[in-house]
Subunit: 366 residues, 2 copies
């Protein structure tokens, strides 16, 4: 058991932005909300999954939809509690612990707000080990755990509880409500016992995000390479150094799809990078050769500061470095790749682990 | 208290088709379902609102969306019970009585199926005295009664419970779920005490539909005018006799919108009729002069048989008679007209009661 303080948030938000692989929204807003909640209610209690009692009643607290909308109407926190209350009423049980849906982007810090406002402990784990756009893309799905009942709440006072037949249907129905609620909804979902959480979730996610952030902050302070420091934390690879020459974006079915092109600098001089994204970065290719694909992590960092850059922030002329890292082993199973592999996202390519792709290039990558 | 038998269904379906004013779907399907349910479970008990105990727990059982979809996949009745069960679980009370949402179209006969399958009594009343396309267009809205919690269920096993802040929001959220569920969903909503039902609902709706149907059937048997017989039951007016010369249809936001043009015959020779519809018939004009508008009832009948014709069945060359009748007085209030008057449907015209419009024409109308 430990306490998460205002100070921990800084590092956590940077690490979560990297693990968000371009998606999941700006963790800055989540950080502001979490800081306010901790200022109002005091530090929150974080426990490891091993400390969790088997009979604990855990639920995820998250935001669904376009996190960009939240920048325009900063939520007060009441919506998260409304979703949690609606879920508790539906299952006729009190939630005892809060868990994270994803460690990437805003959904890494929003559960902290919920924990602070409810006084409930937060369990150090998440269901993705990164960010993904859809509900069923969660490790509990691999364990046969239902995302529903899921409760949704908005800032107007509406609430909805969905019992989907499977996690794909739950995603589909919740998505339509989210759009109707104004493109963003607060949700509570994936009720699990402590025993289930230990089996289905990815442990130590908050700690990992904090370590990444601390490594980056410390490297900056010591004028050493923050990206190298981050790579050490995630067993990652430096894929490309260059300058953005083009960003193409289009909004398709509520997702921010597009691609990024960059021209190589230094050791990548003369080469071209292309990254395809759908909220998250999904495929990276250097001079036409695929070097990393989803579910492995692909993050774009500011060359100087080592700050992770979300897809919304990509713009012409930015000097970047692209890094990649292995995803959690659960995603590399047949069922895992069926849920979140490149083919699910519409790409006609099989998944090859990033370490194999990088080795096949045969050169220094860290 | 009385029993509704297979025999009563024939007349009820014809009357409900007339009161459906073109919308609410083909009552034929609802009749088939109700007949099957009564054959399986025996006659259902119908009680008048006056017989209802003040403490009774009443809920509407209905179908939302495009009733045409149900023709393609005839529901087994399980979806209605799933919606009712989800609602009961949410309110943590047993429903004791079933009530009708609308007496027009399929939703007049579907509650019979629910009553038969659950063994619960059906209360002789409805919330519209006709058919309307949206949830908030219900007399309980005028009494400040919430449509939510509303439960929705589909044939795949999904169920959703919505708590809307008001009946407009409940409609909006339920509509998006209905579309996602495949354009039709079974719903349970408007939980009311017996006391509230007596105040908020329109009584004797089933009896009215049956009387209209019986009058039409009897007139046919006696080779007298079935339309005249129907008009007597509803205090209605014969607006036009003619032949359809054009039907224009377009699907806008999930509703069947369009217009009908007919050339006059007999006493209407040389005149032109135009009817605008959005699921239901909303405005009727003869040679450019408005003769009836929503919420008053406008029904199109087959000239020979007196069979009410739904908007889907309108086609070139059909010989028709158009009739109109006063709506329930509740709809003629300021708040009623705000909910269902011509301006709500986007027409730039004030509501004038049909009997005044018809009197201003100054000729025999029955």
């Amino acid at each position: 058991m430990r306490h998460l303080t205002e100070q921990s948030l800084e590092a956590l938000a940077i690490g979560a932005a990297l693990l968000g692989t371009g998606g999941g929204g700006d963790p800055y807003i989540g950080k502001l909300m979490a800081r306010q909640a901790i200022q109002d209610n005091g530090p929150i209690t974080v426990i490891d999954t091993e400390e969790l009692q088997d009979t604990a009643v855990c639920a995820m607290s998250a935001v669904m939809g376009a996190p960009t909308v939240l920048v325009e109407k900063l939520p007060g926190g009441g919506e998260q509690l409304a979703a949690l209350t609606a879920l508790e009423k539906h299952i006729n049980k009190k939630i005892t612990h809060i868990i994270c849906a994803e460690i990437g982007g805003m959904n890494s810090t929003l559960p902290i707000v919920t924990a602070a406002r409810t006084g409930l402990p937060l369990v150090d784990c998440d269901a993705m080990g990164r960010a993904f756009p859809e509900i069923q893309m969660s490790t509990p799905t691999l364990s046969g755990i239902q995302a529903s009942p899921i409760a949704l709440a908005d800032d107007k006072g509406n609430s909805v509880v969905i019992d989907g037949v499977d996690n794909h249907w739950t995603e589909r129905l919740a998505r339509s409500i989210t759009i109707e609620m104004g493109a963003a909804a607060f949700i509570a979902l994936f009720v699990q016992t402590g025993k289930q959480v230990k089996e289905s979730m990815i442990p130590n996610s908050l700690r990992l995000a904090e370590s990444i952030g601390e490594a980056i902050i410390e490297a900056r302070a010591q004028h050493s390479d923050p990206i190298h420091a981050a790579l050490t934390e995630i067993d990652g690879f430096r894929i490309f150094k260059g300058k953005i020459t083009d960003v193409e974006r289009r909004t398709v079915a509520g997702f921010a799809r597009g691609s990024l092109t960059a021209a190589g600098l230094e050791r990548n001089a003369g080469e071209t990078l292309e990254v395809e994204f759908q909220n998250e970065n999904l495929i990276a290719a250097v001079s036409g050769r695929t070097v990393a694909t989803v579910p492995d992590l692909i993050a774009i960092m500011d060359s100087e500061t080592g700050e992770p850059i979300t897809t919304e922030e990509l713009r012409y002329g930015l000097r970047i470095q692209v890094i990649a890292a292995p995803c959690h082993p659960k995603w590399r199973s047949t069922e895992g790749l069926r849920l979140v592999g490149p083919r699910y996202f519409g790409y006609d390519t099989d998944y090859v682990p990033v370490e194999q792709l990088v080795a096949s290039i045969g050169r220094e990558t860290r």
